[in-house]
């Protein structure tokens, strides 16, 4: 992977995005409908530890994101 790109994983799917881009961009790159649902509050995005992360959250090379039902 070149230095100006990051590889991140959304629900296990590998996507390549420009460095400095955020959680929302990884969703858009993977499947824009995931971003639309997360933006509407119908999906939560979690990191590899299961913590909720915001759509504007930072990413790093190798980051893993998972989408799921929001917490009650």
């Amino acid at each position: 992977m070149s230095e100006d790109k990051m590889t991140v994983y959304v629900n296990g799917r590998e996507v390549s995005i420009h460095r400095g881009l955020k959680v929302k961009h990884a969703l858009i790159a993977c499947d824009q409908s995931l971003y639309d649902a997360a933006e509407a509050g119908d999906l939560a995005v979690r990191d590899a530890s299961g913590f909720n992360v915001g759509l504007e959250g930072s990413l790093h090379d190798g980051a893993k994101l998972y989408t799921g039902k929001p917490d009650e």
Partner: protein
């Protein structure tokens, strides 16, 4: 000789041995209870975020302030209030006044320290320094330095607080991503050191100066905080930000505790720790209930003074939105393929980024503007999304691919710096009949500097070709680029001039 009764003898023997034991046994550990309150990635969210489906809102600085006061009352001598950065940029009320309302609220709330996030530089160095000077608490960052190793003017590497007899060192660190996630030039002359290089000498220094507790106030993201804890010894606690993570159960990496309180002030981090003052370490901490939801319902208490600060600025927004920011001699209208409003926005993007080509999606342009004076509100309505410029290298062939896909979308893109002629009757993939960039026929192997927005740069609207670009850098908010263009060029009269020609 009078003899002691047996019971009395036993009591005296017990007292004597107890006294002996207390004199010669090791002293019991001296501990103090401290409360660390924290927020991060607030991004100007002074007002509560409305709840979904009629549920009460969350966040809002006046509600946070009330919770902070209540926590301070429980531990008045042992509480610290910290911010892990990215406090200002992100909402109209904060952006329009360049973060001033946030600083006023933070001063009123008695923040003890704040670390610098990458977005602290979004409005340039002058705006950043204005905020720094307005703050009555220290701005911290130990790893933004110039070529001689000097820190930013007025910024401290760390601050020391004395709480219940414990000397607490709070060291600030900022993400190295700052170099490419803020507009080039905003931190001109400075670079961001890796934390594993910047921290060890500082930790050694503060410990020599008697620090009983070392806190790193970090804006590098949770996973990077974990790496930092494993690579740098001597950190007791990391209060983090940048990844917008709701760390609801305490993260422990080696002997370092890591916390982070989500984003936008939806949570207040409340970490209650017990510190052994002799061993100089945290001996007790909670594993859960370390984030408190900031509830902003009609019956939830709020701080009236902070609410007053917010109201003062909110009352001014109407006037600010009505401010004239430019003028157009023609109606600015959006339409598929080329439009004059698209030409205006793309010209502004290209000028701001000093690139050869600019490309913007029609979906990001949300209104038309009639001829006459243009207000700030009209620009916010035209460009409601918080999109940033992204400028990257693309080959001529990649630009052709983008424009071919544009033909499939029936004209979603607006452009500047290029001229394209389409034959929509031609088969898919061969509809671009002519393409010139900068007035010259496109060279398919030549690399062009192309500006777009972050949505398209991520492959939005299926324009995945932008993800193939190289050397991408983040620029200004697109609104800022358009405002700057209008300021310099008004009155404007953009027209449809044959940038995108559709045949037959």
């Amino acid at each position: 000789m009078k003899k002691f009764p047996a019971v009395l003898s036993a009591v005296l023997f017990f007292l004597a041995t107890s006294l002996f034991a207390s004199l010669f046994a090791p002293a019991a550990a001296e501990t103090v209870d401290l409360t660390i309150l924290h927020i991060n990635d607030f991004h100007g969210h002074l007002m509560p975020t409305p709840g979904k489906d009629g549920k009460p809102g969350t966040g809002g600085m006046a509600y946070i302030a009330k919770m902070v006061s209540e926590e301070r009352e429980k531990n008045p001598e042992g509480t610290l209030l910290l911010s892990a950065g990215d406090m200002f940029q992100g909402t109209p009320i904060s952006n329009l006044f360049r973060g001033k309302p946030v600083i006023e609220a933070m001063n009123r709330m008695g923040f003890d320290a704040m670390t610098l996030g990458n977005h602290e530089f979004d409005w340039g160095m002058d705006a950043f320094q204005n905020l720094r000077k307005a703050a009555v608490f220290p701005f911290l960052s130990a790893n933004i330095v110039d070529d001689k190793g000097a820190l930013l003017p007025g910024v401290k590497p760390y601050a020391v607080f004395q709480k219940k007899g414990v000397k607490i060192a709070v060291i600030g660190v900022t993400t190295p991503e700052t170099q490419y996630t803020t507009k080039a030039g905003n931190i001109k002359g400075y670079h961001v050191l890796a934390v594993e290089k910047a921290l060890p000498p500082l930790i050694e220094k503060v410990k020599k100066e008697g620090a009983g507790l070392v806190i790193v106030l970090s804006h590098i993201g949770l996973d990077e905080d974990r790496n930092m804890a494993s690579q740098v010894g001597g950190i007791d606690l990391i209060v983090g930000g940048h990844s917008h993570t709701e760390v609801k159960t305490t993260v422990v990496a080696g002997s370092t505790i890591i916390v982070q309180a989500g984003y936008y002030g939806n949570y207040l981090g409340v970490l209650k720790i017990t510190v052994d003052t002799d061993a100089k370490k945290i001996v007790q901490y909670p594993e859960r209930r370390i984030l408190r939801k900031v509830k902003a319902g009609p019956n939830d208490p709020f701080d009236a003074d902070v609410a007053g600060i917010i109201k003062k600025y909110d009352d001014q927004i109407r006037g600010e939105f009505g401010r004239v920011v430019g003028e157009t001699r023609v109606d600015l209208r959006k339409r598929p393929f080329e439009s004059n409003i698209g030409n205006l926005v793309c010209d502004a993007m290209r000028k701001a980024a000093r690139s050869e080509v600019a490309i913007q999606n029609n979906g990001g342009l949300r209104t038309s503007i009639p001829a006459g004076k243009i207000t700030l509100e009209q620009i916010y309505t035209l460009l409601p999304f918080d999109n940033n410029l992204m400028t990257m290298d693309l080959t001529g062939a990649q630009i052709v691919d983008i424009l071919e896909y544009n033909a499939k979308t029936e004209g979603m893109l607006q452009v500047s710096g290029l001229r394209v002629v389409y034959d929509l009757a031609a088969p898919e993939g061969s509809r671009v009949k002519e393409l010139s960039i900068g007035g010259k026929p496109v060279n398919r192997s030549h690399i062009y500097r192309v500006t777009t927005n972050d949505f398209l740069a991520a492959g939005g609207d299926r324009f995945g070709m932008f993800r193939e670009g190289k050397n991408a850098v983040v620029g200004d908010d697109i609104r800022e680029a358009v405002l700057d263009y209008l300021k310099k060029h008004s009155p404007v009269s953009p027209r449809i001039e044959g940038r995108i020609v559709v045949t037959p």
